[in-house]
C-alpha cells in the first residue's frame, strides 16, 4: 500500500470546511494519497464527490467511534 502523502484532520469542523480543505490539498498535491479525517455527518459523501470531480479516487472509507477516515488517491 502506497504511503499517505498528506493527512487532513478535519475533525470538529462542519461542512463545507472538510471538503474545502481536502479540495485545497488535492489541488496542491496534484498526485498522491490523502487521508481525510472527519466527524461531520454529511462530509464523507461530500468529500467523496469532490474527490471524484477533481479526478481523485476514493480508495477506502472506514469509521471508528464517529470519526470517518477517507483515503483519496490520484496516481
Amino acid at each position: 500500500m502506497a504511503e499517505i502523502t498528506k493527512i487532513v484532520d478535519a475533525r470538529g469542523l462542519s461542512c463545507p470546511q472538510p471538503v474545502l480543505i481536502a479540495s485545497d490539498e488535492m489541488a496542491a498535491l496534484e498526485t498522491g494519497r490523502i487521508e481525510v479525517l472527519t466527524d461531520c455527518g454529511a462530509s464523507p459523501e461530500n468529500v467523496g464527490r469532490a474527490a471524484k470531480a477533481a479526478g481523485w479516487r476514493l480508495v477506502s472509507s472506514s469509521e471508528d467511534k464517529g470519526t470517518v477516515r477517507l483515503v483519496l488517491e490520484k496516481p
Partner: protein, 376 residues
Amino acid sequence: MYSSRAELLTRTFGGGYGQCLRRAFRHSRNGRNHRAFRRIAAVCRQSRQYGDLRGLRLRDIAGSLGLHQAAVVQYLRPEIPGFILGSFVAALMTGEFRARAGSAPATRFFLGMCAMAGALVFLGCPWRAFLRLAGGDGNALFGVAGLAVGVFIGTRFFKGGFSLGRAQGQSWSAGVMIALAALVLLAARFFLSPDPVAGTLGWLMASVKGPGAAHAPLFISLAGGLLIGVLAQRSRFCTMGALRDLFLFKQTHLLSGVLAFLVVAFAANLVLGQFKPGFTGQPIAHTDGLWNFLGMVASGLAFALAGGCPGRQLILAGEGDGDSAVFVLGMLVAAGLAHTMGWASSPAGLGPNGMAATLVALGFCLLVGVMNLKKA
C-alpha cells in the same frame, strides 16, 4: 374540507399516511431524495398549516412562552418539538447521534438572532420562501433571490478560509438537551389545559385569533413534524446547503431535492386550486420587495456562516449538535424580540424598526465573516 383534501392527496400521490411514511423513508435511505420529497410535500399539503414553516413556528412558540405579547401569533406548535424528536430518533437509530459542541457558541447565538430577524422581515424561513413561491406569491421571488445572494456572500467567506473553529465531543447528556426541551414542550402541550376565552394554555399563551390560532389538529401536526424530522435527518435536506454547494462546488444533489420540493408543492397547489399568482393579498406576506430581498440576504448569510437553514439547524440540534442548539435558541429569542421591538413585518408591511434590524443583522453577519477569516 380537510378530509376531502387528504382524500384528494391520497388519490394524487397514492397510499395512506403510514404507507407514505414507509415509502418516503425507504426512498430517502436509497438516496432518492426527489421521491422522498414528493412524499414530504404530500404530507405538507395535507396540513394546510405547513405553508408556514420553521421560522414562523418558532415565532409562535416564542409567543406561547410569553417572550412576546403579539396575541395573534402565540401557539405552542407541536411540529417543532416533533421535528427535533424525529431527527433525534432517526439519529439514534442509525448511530449518527453524536454529542458535540464548542464551535463559537455565542457567535452562533447572535447569528441565530440575525437569521430570525431577517426571516421575520421577509416573513418566512427558506422553506417557506420556496412554499410561498410555489403558491404563486411573487414577493417570494425577492426573498429567494436574497437568500441566494446571502448564501453566495457566505461561500466567498468560506473560500477565504472562514471558520468558526472546531467542535469537540461532549458527554451524551449535553447532546440531548434540545431533545429534552422538545419533550418538555410537548408535555406542556398535552398536559396543560387550554382556555380559549383567556387565550392561554396553562401557564402559556395561546392565540384565539390570527395565524397563531390557525393550526392543524394536534396529532396530525405532531406526526407530520416527526415524519419530516426523520426524513430531513436521513436526507440532510438543507435549502441553504443546496445553494451553497451549487456556488462552492457546482454540486446539485441537494439542489435537486429542493427543486423537487418546489415542483411538487407547486403541482399540489395547482391540483388543490391553491395556486394564486400575484404580489398583493398573499397570505402572511407584504409587498416591499427591497426589504423582502435584504431580509433574506441577512438570513441567508447567517445560515451560511452557521452551516444550515433553520430546518437543518433543528435537525442538527436533534442529532446532538450543541452549537446548532445555541443557534436555535438565538432564533427563539429573536422571534420574541422581533415582536416586542418592532422588527417583524406583518401583512400590512414592515415593522417600525424592521429596516434598522435588517441592516444591523447584515452588518453583524459581515463582521463575523471578516473576523473569522483564517487563511494565511
